[in-house]
């Protein structure tokens, strides 16, 4: 069950997804064990909600990708423990949201479904596995640009895609994460949206995402395969990606479907170093 959470919905009246976020938050608070944070009131009466936010893990319900509630949480330095985006959930459930703010039967079904899913997920967290199957010792090359230091592992086992994700490969398994270039660009990472254990991912498919107050970064999987492990520490401490995206900040491990075929479209350390240096230079030119 979702219990003892502080719930921050976007409450937006710009589109239906905002109205749904409000209804879902109300439903989640009907059991008396969760507390709503009103985003409008929070802006002008911070004190009222600081205690609630400080005492409870935070569930953010964004209506759409504008992510107003997430941005508000970032602004108030609140750590998000769990979040959903109504528009994305609607898509995932094949529900087209209506153009006005009234909740119709269809949206009501979505609210009930999300309510049940959130509660079920919460129960599953206690039993999910997240054990790492690999041990990796990285040997770094570093280069500096201004105050930014970029580390790039030069181990032969590590391969990269041109979307700034790395993979440590060991036979038919790989541990995957983002590179320093990503974490430096995003700056403080506030939320980790993990892939699910058991998910089958295509090469270059989405392997979860990470989010800062600046942007959302969709992790592009270097390999195809089945998710066998997720770094659960990131769910409570996504800043580990900023600290070191290769060691404590790894993202997931895959059992690989076609390692040799996938490798054809990946690059090694030297090429990735060259590409990263060029990207950093180009960014400075702008």
């Amino acid at each position: 069950m979702i219990e003892n959470y502080a719930i921050l919905p976007c409450n937006g009246l710009d589109k239906c997804a905002g109205a749904i976020s409000r209804e879902l938050a109300i439903k989640l608070c009907e059991n008396d064990k969760n507390e709503i944070i009103c985003p409008v009131h929070f802006r002008v009466a911070e004190k009222k909600y600081n205690k609630i936010a400080g005492d409870h893990p935070l569930l953010v319900i964004d209506g759409c990708q504008t992510r107003c509630a997430s941005k508000l949480a970032a602004e108030k330095n609140l750590r998000i423990i769990k979040k959903i985006i109504i528009a994305e959930e609607a898509k995932g459930h094949g529900i087209e949201l209506n153009d006005n703010l009234r909740i119709t039967d269809q949206e009501r079904v979505l609210i009930d479904t999300l309510f049940n899913e959130l509660n079920r997920e919460e129960d599953n967290i206690l039993s999910s596995s997240g054990e790492s199957a690999l041990s990796c010792e990285f040997d770094y090359e570093t280069f500096q640009n201004g105050k930014f230091i970029f580390r790039i592992p030069k181990n032969g086992e590590v391969l990269y895609n041109e979307n700034d994700c790395w993979a440590w490969v060991n036979e038919n398994r790989a541990r995957i994460g983002v590179t320093d270039y990503v974490q430096q660009n995003l700056s403080d990472i506030l939320y980790f949206y993990p892939p699910e254990i058991g998910d089958e991912i295509d090469q270059f498919g989405e392997l979860g995402s990470i989010e800062s107050s600046k942007a959302v970064f969709e992790m592009v999987s270097p390999f195809s395969g089945k998710v066998i492990s997720v770094n659960e520490k990131l769910e409570k401490n996504p800043e580990l990606i900023n600290e070191n995206p290769y060691e404590l900040g790894w993202v997931a491990e895959l059992e690989l479907t076609d390692p040799e075929g996938d490798k054809e479209l990946l690059i090694g350390f030297e090429k990735y170093l060259e590409i990263t240096k060029k990207k950093v230079e180009d960014a400075n030119v702008r």
Binding site: T66, A215, E218, E264, L265
Partner: protein, 97 residues
């Protein structure tokens, strides 16, 4: 700055760019602000105020701008088809070598 190749393939042979659904776009310009590659261009005085100006600047497989789009007005090609296309081009290139 335009990437000239991606995975060894000429960038202009890879069809990867955002498409704007003007029936949904509300010209909030979040995507313009977000994209560091200057893929979009704002045209203040025209009826269509936002266009995909530099599609070849778009990083292949990146869909980050669509994650900033509140009205969900940005779409991208299918990733698997694009991957297959890149593989096919690379095979063609190898057979010419």
């Amino acid at each position: 700055m335009s990437e000239t190749t991606f995975m060894g393939v000429e960038r202009n042979l890879i069809d990867w760019k955002p498409t704007i659904d003007y029936s949904k776009c509300d010209y909030c310009m979040e995507c313009v602000e977000f994209c560091p590659h200057k893929v979009f261009e704002v045209r203040e005085n025209e009826e269509i105020r936002l266009i995909v100006k530099n599609p070849l600047n778009c990083v292949v497989f990146c869909r980050a701008c669509s994650k900033t789009c509140g009205p969900d007005a940005l779409s991208f090609p299918d990733k698997n088809l694009t991957t297959q296309r890149i593989k096919d081009i690379r095979k063609e290139m190898e057979s010419h070598d």
